[in-house]
């Protein structure tokens, strides 16, 4: 191989010192949020702290856990009054405490759905959407008693349903959750869901590394156009990666004998405590219908 000839500019040495200017500043908004999202998803997948604790939900077989939580979610949907919803709230609170799930951890995870629903329902508070008895107002726009009641009830219902689902996810290992789900949904659907979930994190790692790679090569303020181009190229990269990964996974499955039919090991029989849990949860559901 011919000897490498290095250009003259590559031989230029820098002698000036490279010093921090002593001024501290906050990290960039986008950067901080990207890291936050990656860390949030990472925690969601890898954090199994509550699933390994000895508590009420953890003691129940995953299939029974899903059936029970489904009954309680349906109870939230069926609850038409404050009494029924408060009852489901108390049951949820008791389950959280008995399953040793910290309330602050639960609230932190439910908060996004609470905020999202609240923003969506904001207009419902006001007289132009829900006419009724005014309780507060400003410049001719009033919050009505009926509007506030409807919005609070709906927000509470959604938050409660999110809490129940979060309780299920926090106390169930990812593999157990999908194994449980397999008993109620077609195997093909659950396997596809599991693989989607699995590969989202592979692609998230690509996105995170891409951000770091750009950061390591950027030292001047770029133009908006340049940032847009970079963003578009990363979307293209992730699309390309997801297509090639799908093709490779499909070939790997074919090479291991996959013929379009998915068989699974049959579930273990539910024990007495599992049946008791399911029975109680569905009792709460039927109770909510009557209240």
């Amino acid at each position: 191989m011919a000897e490498v000839k290095l250009p003259a500019w590559l031989k230029e040495a820098r002698d000036a010192p490279c010093l921090a200017d002593g001024k501290d500043s906050a990290p960039g908004f986008l950067e901080k949020n990207l890291e936050g999202i990656a860390s949030f998803f990472g925690k969601m997948v890898y954090f199994e702290g509550y699933a390994s604790k000895k508590g009420l939900l953890q003691a129940v077989e995953p299939r029974a856990r899903i059936l029970g939580v489904l009954a309680l979610v349906l109870a939230c949907v069926a609850a038409s009054g404050v009494v029924a919803l408060s009852g489901v709230f108390l049951v949820t609170l008791a389950i959280a405490l008995l399953s040793k799930v910290g309330l602050s951890a639960l609230i932190k995870r439910v908060l996004p759905s609470f905020l999202f629903t609240s923003v969506l329902l904001l207009p419902v508070f006001f007289s132009f959407v829900t006419p009724g008895e005014p309780i507060a107002g400003f410049m001719g726009i009033y919050v009505t008693r009926q509007g506030a009641g409807t919005a609070f009830f709906f927000i509470s219902r959604v938050s409660l349903m999110a809490s129940l689902v979060m309780l299920l996810l926090l106390t169930t290992r990812q593999t157990d959750f999908f194994r449980g789900l397999r008993q109620f949904l077609p195997a093909f659907f659950v396997t596809t869901l599991f693989m989607t979930f699995r590969y989202i994190f592979v692609l998230l790692k690509v996105a995170e590394d891409s951000t770091l790679a750009r950061k390591s090569r950027t030292f001047a303020k770029g133009s908006l156009r340049e940032s847009q181009d970079w963003f578009a190229s990363r979307i293209a990269l992730i699309l390309k990666k997801s297509l090639s990964t799908a093709e490779e996974v499909s070939m790997a499955m074919a090479s291991r004998g996959f013929n379009g039919k998915l068989d699974a090991i049959g579930p273990a029989r539910m024990g007495k405590k599992d049946l008791l849990w399911v029975g109680l949860a569905w009792f709460v559901f039927f109770l909510s219908l009557g209240l």
């Binding site: 490498v4 690509v206 090569r217 181009d229």
Partner: protein, 270 residues
């Protein structure tokens, strides 16, 4: 005496509650060629990212030419100076290449140096010529082979003429000819007193290129920091750090037990 480029004092990095690196204390001087060796998951890549100011220590301190590298200080003039002087080649070239063509990719760094149009063109084309990439100048990087992508990734970093090169698994996935090509480029840059810090599993690269080895063990701490021959000749240390392995097999009536790696021997017969 050569000036200190990086100084780490008890630096550690925790991710989701578990440590990827612990209590790392070391100094890298200008012109050194340092290899970071370690088993999978020992923290080699995290250490390189920390040296490139991409992640910041959750304990201890990392300094670049005397200034602390942290999220709050790596801004403005210091950020520009730091990024001009330190280049990082990622193990996966796809994440590093984001411009529409190979030419744009190599020009991305120099464009930020405010070079004249002619100076920029001369620099990029000279580099493409030197690295044998001229025929690919108008190709989109995603259409290239893995070896070509790696070459473009290296070109994109070299184009800003960094003083320090951080290379994460540089020979991974390269065919033998491209490995030799890369070695020759690195050797040429080493003669220009560039500082190299390489994370790798490639013991032959370490033996031929690096003057010093930092060995990370599976507890994510430094197990050894010494001259390359000293570390690579310590078979027990390499076995403990899971860099080489040992096995027993038979040749006819003779049973051998030996390690794998550049210092493997067939001297332990039964």
């Amino acid at each position: 005496m050569e000036k200190e480029i990086f100084t780490l004092e008890g630096a550690g990095f925790a991710y989701n509650g578990s440590f990827a690196l612990r209590g790392i204390s070391l100094t890298v001087k200008a012109g050194e060629s340092v290899a970071i060796l370690g088993a999978n998951g020992s923290g080699k890549s995290t250490l390189l990212k920390m040296l490139d100011g991409l992640v910041f220590p959750s304990e201890g301190v990392v300094r670049f030419m005397g200034s602390e590298l942290k999220e709050e200080t790596l801004k403005g003039g210091f950020l520009k100076c730091f990024r001009e002087r330190v280049g990082f080649v990622f193990p996966e070239p796809d994440v590093q290449l984001f411009c529409p063509t190979v030419f744009d990719e190599v020009a991305f760094g120099p464009l930020q140096l405010n070079l004249s149009k002619d100076g920029l063109k001369e620099r990029v084309e000279g580099l493409l010529e030197m690295l044998g990439l001229s025929n690919l100048r108008d190709r989109p990087p995603y259409t290239l082979s893995s070896g070509e992508k790696k070459k473009v990734a290296i070109a994109s970093v070299l184009s800003i003429n960094p003083d320090v090169l951080l290379l994460d698994e540089p020979t991974n996935g390269l065919d033998p000819r491209t490995q030799v090509w890369l070695f020759e480029i690195m050797q040429g840059l080493k003669e220009l007193k560039k500082t190299f810090i390489i994370a790798t599993h490639d013991l032959s690269l370490v033996e031929d290129f690096a003057g010093r080895v930092i060995l990370l063990d599976e507890s994510h701490a430094i197990a050894a920091d010494a001259a390359t021959p000293k570390v690579l000749s310590d078979k027990d240390l390499l076995l403990r750090a899971n860099i080489i392995h040992e096995h027993t097999h038979r040749h006819g009536g003779l049973t051998h037990r030996h390690s794998h790696g550049p210092y493997s021997t067939h001297d332990e017969h039964e």
